[in-house]
């Protein structure tokens, strides 16, 4: 059967090269990832040993970091991988943002979005993943996202570290006139049995003259000294004294600031504005109309000597009334869109992402049939650092200072806006004050380039206000999902049919940022629904995609963010219908999935599942709810302890979380991401919703798009399962299950089954 996924793979190949060339290209060995196309920038006495690491005579070892640090801790995790194989001392490690180069292309991002279940180990799956990774090496891009950084860097960082160690040992051997095999490295020094030793710094210059080491032997897990240790964050100290530099902190000489007001209707543009008052204000440099870029919205900008003047002048323009071209979105509001999604479910069979058995027959003969419909709203990313980008345009090129997850894409689009070659654009990636997927977009980068073009060579920081950030996002798609399941007379699941409807973030992103055609299917719309491990005989999971005039994007954990809520809540509905304990019910469906079963049972044990739960200090009754979910290669179980306030608000007191994320590279960072992921998901479970009225987003601040604060944050206990499997990225894994764990606890406590996010008791 020629499935649509075959088509997808086919089209990916065509994207890489045409016709018969593909055959020849496929046979070539994969492109190397050790040395970049241009020499690394060096400072002082730094000596590059390959494209990933520099050693200096001051004894520092500098990792060239191709991933963005947005809080997930990759600076630390990736530096550990390199330091491990290099046998460096952790105290000598430094991190520097890498230039843009093909060796840093992310091999796992697209591969991770191929529509395969985790238990699919077919030849077709293996070939597709291999081919996609090979294509990504040549034609991919640098990208920090999809929880891929640790998987993507696991080999190249370690190979680069081992290669650097070999060059240092080679340098020592030459210096001491001893066989290289007698030299070994330990804690930043090369040692010889004769007692001679030299620091990496002392050997740096000689090591730089050694030939590259592409073939290396990596350590076995038993030889690891750093991997697995809860090392502290390498970016920690700079974040305690104000010295850490985020995108917003780029302060090139002569900096001007721009404030923008975009059409309140998503996708609209500006027709006319009156700047007579604004232009006369002291400190105002220029006012201008800005187009809509990369799926964004057009608007008015003011360039001024400081942010306050720019914002003040923009208010003066708005006060005189701006004529907008509102565009297609002006005709739609939240209610229409949710109706459109429900209609799509009524009138489409959807694309089937996974099926087995005979679903219709099984449902017809089931002893009991359970049906439900679930809903999730649009969501904003709302990183705390509002979107901003600083650009300086000169005759011979441009410099961009920006916090971005996609530096090469940013460079490409700045070059396009400025009508320059991409190699004339220098992109400096600074720390990201949160991203959560928002900084995978480049609308604000292109916009900033267009604004800076009007500043006569002076650098301009375009800084969005919080309302602009909140009302002009690329939102987590709203989704409606329907389930129908059949139980036999013993209360066992015999059939599970599920179909959901939403927009496609992948299709929208490919179109606005990469110029690709619609890929026809989008695994991310249905991830979390078609790929879960439960074993029952008859299953059909489908999805239907519709187009709506709301820009959608990738929100931490993407499709999992809502599908996990739907699936794990409905699992609880089935357990209740079968009159079985929710943990035992799930466990009975995981006979052939020992890792999942172990994670579930460990979470149950740690949370005292099944034992009575005492009232809280406030006297309110509490109940537990459980959820199990697999995402991004990891397995997560959570048990939430919940009470209900006198105002009927849902209060989460404690969350126990157990994760199996393969080899734990740094347990400290994993725990951080589990805690942060839970809090992020909890904000969405309890509070967050974007509402759209005639194409205009109504929420503007954290006051009307509330997030969890200190006083409503639960106690979180995390356990990491030991594992020797390949390590997996952990930035998103803890977000998906929390809403279901909470909703399931609310059901136990109140008898109310909440099927719409955010969770509100009647």
């Amino acid at each position: 059967m020629l499935t649509r996924r075959t088509f997808l793979i086919g089209s990916l190949s065509v994207a890489g090269a045409a016709g018969a060339l593909v055959v020849g290209w496929s046979a070539l060995p994969p492109r190397q990832r050790l040395v970049g196309s241009t020499p690394l920038p060096v400072e002082g006495t730094q000596v590059p040993l390959n494209g990933w690491v520099k050693v200096s005579s001051d004894n520092s070892v500098t990792v060239m970091m191709c991933k963005a640090e947005m809080g997930q801790g990759i600076y630390t995790g990736a530096a550990m991988l390199l330091a491990e194989e290099m046998d460096a001392d952790w105290a000598q490690m430094k991190v520097e943002q890498s230039p843009i180069d093909g060796i840093y292309n992310n091999l796992d991002n697209v591969a991770g979005d191929l529509p395969f279940r985790p238990d699919d180990h077919s030849v077709f799956e293996e070939f597709s993943v291999w081919m996609t990774r090979k294509i990504s090496r040549d034609f991919g891009t640098m990208i920090t996202g999809g929880s891929t950084s640790i998987n993507d860097l696991w080999l190249p960082m370690r190979e680069a570290g081992a290669g650097a160690r070999a060059m240092l040992c080679g340098a020592a051997a030459d210096k001491w006139h001893v066989p290289v095999g007698e030299c070994r490295a330990e804690s930043g020094r090369v040692l010889h049995p004769s007692g001679r030793s030299a620091s990496f710094g002392e050997l740096a210059e000689l090591a730089g003259q050694q030939s590259l080491r592409a073939r290396v032997v990596l350590k076995t897990p038993a030889q690891f000294k750093m991997v697995g240790k809860p090392l502290k964050r390498i970016d920690g100290p700079s974040k305690l004294n104000g010295s850490a530099r985020f995108g917003i902190d780029a302060l090139p000489d002569g900096l001007l600031y721009a404030s923008v007001l975009m059409c309140p209707t998503l996708g609209g543009t500006v027709s006319h504005f009156d700047d007579s008052v604004a232009r006369a204000l002291p400190g105002v440099v220029k006012t201008l109309k800005v187009d809509a870029y990369n799926g964004g919205t057009g608007g008015v900008a003011v360039i001024a000597e400081n942010v306050f003047i720019a914002m003040y002048a923009l208010d003066a323009i708005a006060a005189l009334g701006i004529e907008w071209n509102h565009g297609a979105a002006a005709n739609v509001s939240n209610g229409d869109m949710m109706r459109s999604l429900a209609d799509a479910l009524d009138h489409s069979d959807g694309h089937v992402y996974y099926s087995r058995g005979h679903i219709d027959g099984a449902l017809n003969t089931a002893a009991q049939v359970v049906s439900a419909e679930y809903r999730a709203p649009y969501l904003a990313h709302a990183p705390l650092e509002p979107l901003n980008c600083t650009v300086q345009v000169k005759d011979d090129g441009a410099t961009v200072w920006v916090s971005t997850q996609v530096p090469a894409l940013a460079r490409k689009h700045v070059a396009k806006v400025l009508h320059m070659d991409a190699d004339k654009v220098d992109v400096q990636v600074l720390l990201l004050g949160g991203a959560f997927g928002r900084r995978l977009e480049v609308d604000y980068v292109s916009q900033a380039a267009a604004i800076a073009l009007e500043a006569d060579g002076r650098p301009v920081q375009t800084l969005w206000s919080r309302p602009q950030d909140m009302t002009h996002d690329f939102y987590r798609p709203a989704c409606v999902s329907r389930f129908k399941a059949g139980l036999n007379s013993a209360g066992e699941v015999v059939a599970w049919r599920n179909m959901s409807a939403s927009q496609s973030a992948v299709a929208a992103s490919l179109k606005r940022n990469y110029g690709f055609l619609d890929p026809l299917i989008d695994r991310t719309t249905v991830e979390g629904a078609f790929d879960q491990p439960y074993e029952w005989p008859n299953l059909r999971v489908a999805q239907t995609t519709i187009e709506l005039p709301v820009p959608v994007g990738f929100w931490r954990s993407v499709g999992h963010s809502h599908q996990a809520f739907f699936v794990e809540s409905f699992m609880d509905e089935l357990a209740a219908a079968a009159r079985k304990d929710p943990v035992a019910f799930r466990a009975s469906l995981l006979e052939h999935h020992p890792r999942h079963l172990a994670v579930l049972q460990r979470a149950a044990a740690l949370s005292d599942w099944g034992r009575p739960l005492a009232r809280g200090s406030d006297g309110a009754a509490r109940a537990r709810g459980v959820a199990l979910h697999e995402a991004f290669g990891s397995i997560v179980a959570q048990v939430a302890e919940v009470s209900v306030g006198a105002d009927k608000s849902v209060r989460v007191q404690r969350v126990v979380c157990v994760v199996d994320c393969g080899t734990p590279v740094n347990p400290n960072l994993i725990r951080q991401q589990v805690e942060g992921g839970i809090v992020f998901g909890l904000s969405a479970a309890l509070y967050e919703a974007i509402t759209i009225d005639h194409g205009q987003v109504q929420e503007q601040y954290y006051s009307d798009f509330p997030i969890v604060h200190m006083d409503d944050c639960p106690v979180i206990e995390t356990e990491i399962m030991p594992s020797g499997a390949e390590p997996q990225g952990v930035g998103e894994i803890a977000t998906p299950p929390i809403a279901a764990a909470v909703a399931n606890a609310v059901f136990t406590l109140t008898g109310q089954r909440l099927r719409t996010l955010p969770l509100k008791l009647a």
Binding site: G71, K232, L240, S243, N306, F308, P386, E675, G677, M710
Partner: protein
């Protein structure tokens, strides 16, 4: 020109007197440790001290500051600050770090007032500073740890 007392020094600034302190710090003085988050005082990202009390810099117009003493993260010193930074490090609180200047400013003002804060005290003092990364559990633990270290 207005004269402001920032981190123990008198500083002459040329910004318009109606300018909020936040933008004077960031745009005129290049002190970027104080962060912009919302501009209306609901996120707390720009928390500084005015005469030792935590206050959001986006709502403090410079003409109103007079001789009041402003302290920012760059000038945060003293026994509380030492204990808090040590606890922040040993517990490894930070993730993206964008709110952490403000968290430390709010926490140090709290510890000065209440050397042994209860969980409720921490809720009251810290609930106005949002952290989108969700570092709250570690912030709470670090404040308790700093209080213990300072007392010990």
């Amino acid at each position: 020109m207005l004269s402001l007392n920032i981190n123990g020094r008198q500083v002459l600034v040329k910004s318009d007197p109606a300018t909020p302190l936040l933008w004077v710090l960031r745009c005129e003085l290049g002190m970027t440790g104080t962060k912009f988050g919302c501009g209306i005082g609901v996120c707390g990202a720009c928390t500084v001290h005015v005469d030792g009390t935590a206050q959001v810099a986006c709502q403090a117009v410079i003409s109103s500051l007079g001789s009041h003493k402003v302290t920012t993260i760059e000038g945060l010193e003293g026994a509380e600050a030492v204990a808090l930074r040590a606890a922040w490090s040993s517990i490894d609180v930070v993730q993206c770090g964008y709110c952490q200047s403000a968290q430390l400013m709010a926490a140090s003002a709290l510890l000065k007032q209440k050397p042994k804060p209860s969980d409720q005290d921490i809720n009251d003092a810290m609930a106005n500073v949002v952290c989108r990364c969700g570092t709250y559990p570690r912030i709470r633990a670090a404040i308790h740890e700093a209080a213990r270290q300072k007392a010990g």
